[in-house]
């Protein structure tokens, strides 16, 4: 009766013996893994180098994730010398020649973050441990960015953040191995406030609806502090659950609160729903305190604008980048058209700001490796810290050494009244120059973190 068990056990025994027998000589004879003792994790072997692109492929930000992945693929093509080279032609640093990174052909692996920190870390870990990725990039929410950034710090890998807007990423959760090109809540506030004061006056009463999680808090704080500094008053601020889909009960009290501006610190589907509700309640036509009632959305994205449809018309917000930037605001934003052209030729539509930041991050990493002459994360960190560059579509940009945050102009946009097509939903109102959105590294909104030492890993 135990025949099969016996066989199974016998098989295991044989397997063990065989395994041990095979392993024995190598344990004693060879200093295994000798080649990899280069002083840092996942040193590229042979003539290829692997990058890991960790983007949301399912969940609420799947659309953004798909666009990010497109941008990554394009960047890899350009690095390997395929296609027209995109922004490599306009980038102020000229080390990228279309021969990969330091002569090694670029390969990539992709994973699904599911917009959950656990899943994102599992995916990133498998890229690091299994696929030998030397750099991880991507992500479309700050929770994920912070989680993966911490992981990369521990593992000794460079993290080039994708779309993450909360102050924490380069504030209290900043890490030496992590870099963010995207702008942040503070910059949104600093860029928007003067425009708001100009358009709507300095004597305004604001009502905040804020998504009840970290990004919501930092954004509300940033907008509040910037607008109050210009004379606005904050009447009330209400937290809304992230899972909320119907905001009527939150919108209803706004008109009677004495406020004349509604600030929606919402993103993605949240913002689409809350804005739609607000418009349905007639807030756009309403008047309060003798002024026209206004709605503000601090962080805008093309995908959100598409979701909100014509409700977005006339609403002010901020963006990291827009594909029309060079056409409308001139040669300062060179690189934009080169990128839009090669992206459009490959995929048939203009890129989103998420795609832009991911593309730029990949090129910046490749360039930093070339300039450093090494894949060692510490050398890359050194090359990126304090790096000033231009020609990446945002004008002159600085990667600040103190917090690994990029400083560049911020685009203030408004929803178009009469969009010509589904990709042309926003108009650029103004570009706030970088000086106005720069803050000291120890600004209270960013306090409590430390970069620490760069970690090269094994």
């Amino acid at each position: 009766m135990t025949k099969s068990n016996f066989t199974r056990r016998g098989l295991l025994k044989t397997g063990t013996a065989a395994g041990a027998g095979l392993a024995m000589p190598t344990i004693f004879t060879s200093k295994v893994w000798g080649a990899a003792h280069t002083g840092f994790t996942n040193a590229p072997q042979g003539d290829t180098v692997t990058l890991g692109f960790n983007v949301p492929q399912s969940g609420p930000y799947a659309d953004e994730g798909a666009d990010e992945l497109r941008a990554f693929q394009l960047a890899v093509e350009h690095l390997n010398g395929e296609g027209d080279g995109g922004m490599m032609q306009t980038f102020s640093s000229k080390t990228l020649e279309g021969n990969g990174i330091m002569g090694k052909k670029v390969q990539f692996v992709s994973g699904d973050t599911q917009t959950k920190s656990d899943a994102a870390r599992a995916s990133a870990k498998s890229m690091i441990e299994k696929d030998g990725a030397i750099m991880i990039s991507g992500g479309s929410s700050s929770g994920v960015a912070v989680a993966v950034q911490a992981l990369c710090q521990e593992a000794g890998i460079i993290f080039m953040a994708g779309l993450t807007h909360a102050n924490d990423t380069t504030g209290k959760d900043k890490k030496a191995n992590g870099f963010r090109h995207f702008f942040n809540s503070y910059m949104s506030g600093a860029a928007l406030a003067p425009i708001l004061a100009k358009e709507y006056g300095k004597d305004r009463k604001a009502y905040h609806l804020t998504a009840d999680y970290n990004w919501g808090y930092t954004t509300e704080q940033a907008i509040r502090e910037s607008t109050e500094a210009l004379g606005w008053e904050t009447v009330n601020s209400v937290l809304t659950p992230l899972t909320q889909t119907d905001f009527s009960s939150y919108i209803a009290p706004v008109l009677n609160s004495g406020a004349d501006v509604l600030v929606l610190n919402h993103y993605g589907g949240n913002m689409v729903n809350s804005l739609t509700n607000a418009v349905q309640f007639g807030l756009r036509e309403a008047t309060a305190n003798g002024k026209k009632f206004e709605i503000v959305v601090p962080l805008y994205s093309e995908l959100m604008a598409r979701g909100a449809g014509k409700n977005i018309a006339g609403i002010l917000g901020s963006q990291n980048w827009d594909w029309k930037l060079e056409n409308e605001k001139g040669a300062r934003y060179t690189g934009t058209n080169a990128f839009v052209k090669s992206f459009g030729e490959k995929y048939g539509f203009p890129p989103s700001q998420a795609a832009h930041t991911c593309y730029v991050q990949t090129l910046l990493y490749a360039d930093a490796v070339n300039r450093a002459g090494s894949f060692n994360p510490c050398a890359v960190v050194e090359a990126l810290e304090g790096f000033e560059f231009d020609g990446m579509g945002n004008g002159p940009t600085l990667y600040r050494a103190e917090d690994h945050q990029c400083f560049k102009d911020v685009v203030v946009v408004r929803g178009k009244e009469n969009p010509e097509n589904e990709f042309d939903l926003v108009e650029i109102v103004e570009v706030t120059p970088v000086d106005q959105v720069t803050y000291p590294p120890d600004h209270p909104q960013f306090a409590g973190g430390a970069l620490g030492e760069c970690n090269p890993g094994a």
């Binding site: 395994g19 095979l22 492929q57 699904d112 599992a122 700050s142 912070v146 970290n214 992230l242 030492e453």
Partner: protein, 427 residues
């Protein structure tokens, strides 16, 4: 519970088995079959780095290798989670839909231990079990007043409450959406190097992340300290679960599953038993949570989301509810799909089918593509449906069917797990 009619019969057949265990105890208080099962599980876990990396590193098939530390750790940690869940669901039939809450609470307890006390994993793991146990006592005390669907809904409500609290209301304690991580400026009062450098989870100096790579020809095998710690903890958990399954207490729990009303009519108060099972099962979940933090020092609230609770139900049913080894197999299966199948993208597919003519290649890729990469959930769903329809006893039943093909004459014989499986067809 649909198996009322079958249960007395199987329970009767189980009696002699347990009786014989008492007489022919092989070792460690286990019967020979259980002992054999334990040995098999020990062998499987200890040799996992070899077993999970069957393909040479550079080959096309290396895509399917699962022998890297993170996934191996996940296999055993979710194995623990599922073993614990099975103690509740497999034995008493109470379907908890909020078990991830205990996992999450354990994780938060562990990370706070690491932040405040030391990066040594022992205090973290111990506290995670205790805290999860206390929380389970609270939730169980309330939820177990009802049974069936009402119990499930109550546990689900608790778990969603915990999730919502951790996500926003308790942000100062839980870090909100971003979660908690080890930081340089953590107090870590027992660590000498605190405040200067980022601590790493360790066991008396042995870092959980440290690995030894063994290169044999084209194959490479990774032996990871954290994995072996988690594996040993799982083996202990597995051993305890066997003992519990075979104990009079376990028999009592089975009685609850087969007919709780009858039990109550005989004047026996079954709630202390179910509550004990609930707490034990919650402690297993807390242990899994603590180990997750020990392996990867980060906690986020989505660990408590209802989908995470649902996942452990899937694991248990997929593997075979009520069997000893089933939940571990189910956990392995789901984690494998999630981590390996989800990473196959269309580029890789095109490589696979590149030997075909262009049109055919594209057609094949188009057919397969929805089932891999981000479509891994679809594949998992199909597998799950097939298992539930054709193998109600889970993967374990599948194994038995295969085994039976080889020994038609000896139908009564079978491993310890098969006996357990017979008793508990999945619901």
């Amino acid at each position: 519970m649909t198996d009322h009619t079958t249960d007395p019969r199987t329970a009767a057949s189980a009696r002699p088995a347990t009786a014989s265990h008492a007489t022919e105890t092989a070792f460690l208080g286990l019967g020979p079959k259980d002992f054999r099962l334990l040995l098999i599980v020990i062998a499987l876990t200890m040799l996992a780095p070899f077993l999970l990396n069957p393909f040479p590193a550079g080959s096309e098939l290396a895509q399917f290798n699962a022998g890297y530390p993170d996934l191996m750790q996940r296999f055993v940690i979710f194995g623990i989670f599922a073993i614990g869940f099975n103690i509740l669901f497999g034995l008493t039939g109470y379907l908890s839909f909020g078990h991830a809450a205990f996992l999450g609470v354990g994780s938060y307890a562990a990370i706070w231990m690491m932040k405040l006390l030391t990066m040594n994993v022992i205090p973290a793991i111990v506290l995670s079990v205790i805290v999860a146990g206390i929380f389970a006592l609270l939730v169980g005390f309330i939820s177990l007043r009802r049974s069936g669907i009402y119990f499930s809904i109550l546990t689900l409500a608790f778990a969603q409450m915990s999730y919502a609290l951790a996500y926003s209301v308790l942000t100062p304690i839980t870090g909100g959406e971003t979660g908690l991580q080890a930081k340089i400026n953590d107090p870590r009062i027992l660590d000498p190097g605190a405040g200067q450098s980022l601590g790493r989870a360790n066991l008396f100096g042995l870092e959980m992340g440290s690995s030894y790579n063994l290169q044999i020809g084209d194959w490479s095998f990774t032996f990871n300290a954290g994995y072996y710690l988690a594996a040993i903890v799982m083996l202990v958990g597995f051993y305890l679960a066997i003992r519990l399954f075979r104990s009079p207490f376990g028999m009592m729990l089975r009685a609850v599953k087969s007919n709780q009303q009858r039990m109550n009519y005989t004047g026996l108060n079954s709630r202390p038993y179910t509550l004990a099972a609930f707490v034990i099962s919650g402690m297993y979940a807390g242990l899994a949570g603590g180990l997750m933090v020990a392996m990867d020092t980060q906690v986020g609230p989505e660990r408590m989301f209802w989908t995470a609770s649902g996942e452990v139900v899937l694991m248990t049913i997929l593997g075979g509810a009520g069997t000893l080894i089933g939940p571990v197999l189910g956990a392995g299966m789901i984690k494998y799909m999630e981590n390996i199948v989800s990473k196959i993208n269309d580029n890789i597919l095109h490589q696979w089918f590149s030997f075909l003519p262009d049109g055919l290649e594209d057609a094949l890729v188009a057919i397969v593509y929805p089932f891999i990469g981000k479509g891994w959930n679809l594949t998992l769903g199909i597998v799950f449906m097939l298992v539930v329809i054709f193998l109600p006893g889970g993967l374990v039943q599948g194994g038995q069917k295969v085994a039976r093909l080889f020994r038609r004459n000896n139908r009564k014989g079978g491993g310890a797990e098969s006996e357990a499986a017979k008793k508990q067809p999945a619901e």
